[in-house]
Subunit: 234 residues, 2 copies
DNA sequence: CGGGGAATTGATTCTCATCAAACCCAGTGG
DNA sequence: CCACTGGGTTTGATGAGAATCAATTCCCCG
């Protein structure tokens, strides 16, 4: 909404907390997240919130809009960042003209699908500790750190409350689970820096198998994103 | 696996419990479920199981295979039924040649996506009772009963254990939640027949909003399915 | 030097899991 | 025709994991 109020421009600098899409309003553009983190979420009337997917730099959100003209969840920036928008019509036209574009949309949709499928498993059947471990493993791979052992570290701008909304837990419990992973020697994180001391062990603890992310086909994924981005720049 | 062992034929009669896809083996076909119910699920080593999606008569599963060549979950029949298979190559060829087919695949993928997103919300933030209510509402709409009030009834071949695997609960607790809904007057089910006594109330109890199912665009959905089915029959 | 959001810690409560037993009922075979 | 069987359902008693409530501490920033 906010972002689209200036219809002519296509790149926006948005503040942390800015709402890109509201679940109750129609939306007619796809967003490409250049920098910053964002999330898709749904909320109940009484304040419970569930983040259904995290959007990392380079991610595209709102693909459903291409078909449905409406997203059933809201999208909000978790940090400040910059966003490119492409109108629904523009992508539809290009997809009709170029196989590559259509394929890119399908590919990214399928990838999102795989991630969501995995998340249902985590939320339904893993304990809080396992979910936490799985989450950190998934994040590291999505951010491009796919080493299977040794140590990995990266920065993560999320608050514990936001992590809680991803994992279906309370902030307090997230805190305790992080502590537990730290005392178990799997994690050595400070503030906003995640340090996975023992990748292999953390993966075991979280039942994490990286295959579903298809990170071994980075060419496909990144080329899909690049093609969609090019829609905007032409 | 089982089904594909006879490569030439394309319609199979399968027994309840038959495994159509195993998460650890590559798969190279899309399945169209003519009759019967099936499910996609993932399991841990120690026996926990989570059903990520239910496949109802008329549903298509395994679309991810078109892009990834591998599904990350298993698919199993919950009842006996009949299944049509279409090879990956065949659909890919047709999709390249006909817009309609490509669009159908994208549409169904997006719909699955919307359902998974919603399930994430249910598993993460709804109580057992709310999940149960939401599940029954979703089921009734997916089966074609989209009345918003009054009474609705349909037959459901699932055991309480299978429902538990959908909702991330234990069979015992599923039983108790059903009892609770019955004593609250929202439900009047016997054996395998679900009778929703008060649709509006059950929807409120489960925070259910039907929009995400896009049942109001049945033409799109069913025509997408029909087109894919036609791939097989030509 | 405050001020405020986030993180941490403790005490308590509640939801749901676990364990265990009884029951119901359809199908089978004597 | 009726005991036998076994999967599914129902019910009860107990326990564990996570939520809730409530302070306190830690930092970052003005």
């Amino acid at each position: 909404m906010l972002a689209l109020s200036v219809a002519s421009a296509s790149r926006f600098i948005v503040q942390s907390g800015a709402e890109l899409v509201n679940e109750n309003e129609p939306s007619s553009a796809v967003y490409f997240l250049e920098t910053g983190w964002a999330c898709q979420y749904m909320a109940t009337g009484d304040g419970r919130r569930q983040i259904s997917s995290l959007l990392l730099p380079g991610d595209i959100c709102n693909l459903d809009v291409l078909l449905f003209g409406q997203l059933n969840c809201s999208v909000r920036m978790l940090t400040s960042g910059s966003v490119l928008t492409v109108s629904r019509e523009r992508i539809a036209d290009l997809a009709a003209a170029h196989h590559g574009i259509a394929r890119a949309v399908t590919w990214l949709g399928a990838l999102e699908n795989a991630i969501l499928t995995r998340r249902t498993f985590c939320l339904g059947r893993l304990s809080a500790l396992e979910r936490m471990a799985h989450f950190l493993c998934e994040l590291s791979v999505r951010l491009g750190f796919s080493d299977e052992e040794g140590e990995t570290s990266f920065t993560m701008p999320l608050t514990q409350e936001q992590i809680a909304d991803v994992l279906g837990l309370t902030p307090v419990h997230v805190n305790r689970m992080l502590l537990q992973l730290r005392t178990a020697g799997l994690l050595a994180s400070t503030k906003r820096t995640v340090v996975i001391s023992d990748v292999a062990a953390l993966r075991r603890a979280g039942e994490f198998q990286p295959y579903y992310l298809h990170a071994s086909a980075p060419l496909e994924t990144s080329s899909a994103k690049r093609q969609l981005m090019a829609c905007d720049l032409r």
